[in-house]
């Protein structure tokens, strides 16, 4: 843990040129806000992906305090052709964390820029900087006694809305498709110019956070999952806290029940009877979060057996599939819709569990909190399932059709088992789609297991691509391979955009497979 790392340089940059650049950057942000020594950079090199740390080692880290400093740094880097990897809260765990996509990139850590610039309680909007965490926003709304909710992902205590939206992450309230509920960005371009998207470009406009489109092409999308600019502000919509919130869990006993679950719930989701992102979690997602110890059921190597999974279900009262959703409204509207939920659960053979019937301690509690946007870290229990700190999210998109889900689950489970890994998966029902999220958990302290995890992920990716299934998001270690599954024309257009906006290829080259 204390082994100093050798100095790392950006690709194609000499030590002396790099030092000159750092000297100029120190003059902009102050020497205390530039890290270039091996041990000090350790927090920027902690990854969970199945590749060596060295592959994602940074050369240095710079920590600007404001957008003017970001602009000044970009002018230096652009002139000196030094690649930079911007991060917000740096907690994209299992997708690359705070480490650069390519070895030697200089990390621009925007966590100090952590102002909540505006919350409009009437319009239910917020404008935040990259370093704002969900917990910080939650505390702000509580302190100001504002009855507003947001949607957050599972690492919400330490992660933040801007970075999550920029990576097109998802959450669990009716605003769970996060990018859909953003409104307006401020972006620093490679040459230091500042762009405000949508209505933000218009001098004197006060509609930046309420009207997303502006005039002409809507540009926000090209600054998500890309490397065309550095997002330094983002508008987001907040949800009025409903007078009545009714979270619930429906458990189903068999793996094959997934087909009828999805087909029964889809109409309710599309019609917004259930307005939030429904989660359908498999037993092995629930088990760790219910403090089940894997070794008690499967002490040996290899994937856990179906018989052991059955025993876990029985011993701990878990479903094969565990459906989490909620009603948001007035007591009257929720009472009416609750009858529909009860009818659907009964008709599909599910066991309906409510907050009052199942309190505290189990997976249910953190799920019920997440569905109202209350930050917690309950899902980090997943990491105790295998131990060893290895985690990579494999997240193919599926139609919200029962037949598709079972096919995807069986395909994934078979490939995972071949390499000795368990199917730890869930489906998050977006609206008409589902994010099929699988946590490839492995022991990263075991070199052999790490190799297997890499090979397993690679096979998952290729096998799913052959079936026409693409992932919605991917770790930096697999960016190039994932981009390749989407075909050549899209990549060519992405390169043309890169050439136009960042001709010196200095912003995160390689991110999402985009580079010159």
């Amino acid at each position: 843990m204390n082994t100093p790392q050798p100095n790392v340089l950006p690709k194609g940059v000499s030590a002396s040129d790099f030092e000159l650049a750092l000297t100029e950057i120190r003059a902009i942000v102050g020497a205390d806000h530039v890290l270039a020594e091996g041990t000090a950079l350790a927090p920027y090199n902690k990854i969970m992906m199945a590749v060596p740390d060295e592959q994602h080692a940074p050369s240095a880290a710079v920590m600007p305090a404001n957008v003017e400093q970001v602009q000044a740094i970009m002018r230096v880097l652009n002139q000196r052709r030094i690649p930079v990897y911007p991060i917000s809260t740096g907690k994209n765990l299992g997708y690359g964390s705070a480490a650069p996509v390519e070895r030697g990139q200089l990390v621009m850590d925007l966590r100090r820029m952590n102002r909540i610039l505006d919350v409009d309680a009437e319009l239910c909007t917020a404008l935040v900087e990259p370093g704002v965490t969900y917990q910080q926003l939650y505390d702000y709304l509580q302190e100001k006694k504002l009855p507003l909710w947001f949607s957050c992902p599972t690492p919400s205590v330490i992660a933040g809305p801007l970075g999550n939206m920029v990576d097109r992450g998802v959450g669990y309230t009716p605003y769970g498709e996060h990018f859909l509920f953003s409104s307006g960005m401020e972006v620093v371009l490679a040459d230091g110019e500042v762009l405000r998207t949508g209505m933000g470009s218009m001098p004197g406009s006060n509609t930046w956070q309420v009207f997303k489109w502006g005039y002409g092409p809507t540009l926000d999308g090209i600054f998500t999952q890309s490397n065309y600019g550095i997002v330094t502000k983002m508008g987001m919509w907040l949800m009025p806290a409903p007078p009545d919130y009714r979270p619930f869990l429906i458990q189903y006993p068999e793996d094959t029940d997934i087909t009828k679950i999805v087909d029964a719930l889809r109409p309710l989701r599309i019609a917004m009877v259930i307005p939030n992102a429904v989660v359908i979690a498999h037993t092995l997602w629930e088990a760790p979060c219910t403090k089940v110890n894997r070794a008690d059921y499967h002490p040996g190597p290899g994937a856990i057996s179906d018989e052991a999974v059955q025993k876990i279900r029985k011993d701990h009262n878990l479903g094969a599939w565990n459906v989490y959703a909620a009603l948001y409204g007035t007591p009257e509207t929720n009472a009416a819709n609750w009858k529909i939920i009860e009818a659907v659960a009964a008709a599909t053979g599910g066991t309906l569990i409510t907050e009052s019937a199942d309190q505290g301690g189990r997976a249910t509690q953190y799920r019920f909190d997440l569905m109202k946007g209350k930050p917690n870290l309950g899902e980090f229990d997943l990491y105790n399932w295998r131990g060893g700190g290895g985690s990579m999210w494999f997240a193919p998109v599926s139609q919200a059709k029962g037949s598709e889900t079972l096919k995807q689950m069986q395909l994934a489970k078979g490939i995972l088992a071949k390499y000795g890994f368990d199917y730890v998966g869930e489906f998050i029902v977006g609206w008409r789609d589902m994010h099929h999220v699988i946590d490839l958990l492995y022991d990263r302290s075991d070199a052999e297991e790490m190799k297997k995890a890499y090979a397993c992920f690679d096979e998952l990716l290729q096998a799913f691509a052959r079936e026409g299934y693409g992932v919605y998001r991917a770790s930096t270690a697999f960016a190039e391979k994932v981009a390749a599954t989407y075909g050549p024309v899209k990549r060519d257009v992405e390169r043309r955009l890169k050439r136009a906006l960042d001709p010196n290829n200095i912003i995160a080259p390689g991110r999402c497979g985009i580079s010159l």
Partner: protein, 99 residues
Amino acid sequence: MHSTARTILAGFVLVCTQAAVAADQPVEVRDPTYAKVCSYCHDKGIGPAIVGRQLPTVYIENVVRHGFRAMPSFRPTEIDNAALASVARWVSESAAAKK
């Protein structure tokens, strides 16, 4: 009809406000970094309990900066050096949690 709508809306806002102000934080006095970051795992059985074990401050600081297995690393922009020294000292000197 308008006045009815206003009454309903006023009730809606009142209920919302009441829901939003419900006490959320524990009253026990703790180091602020511990309360806002560490406790979410180390008091919940996700990470191991670390209070009451007289762990050396140097060890704690090292684990925070480097991470350890599934525990994420924390950068100076998240927990600055002064806050890190404070939380390390607090954890090291803390008594075991009351059962």
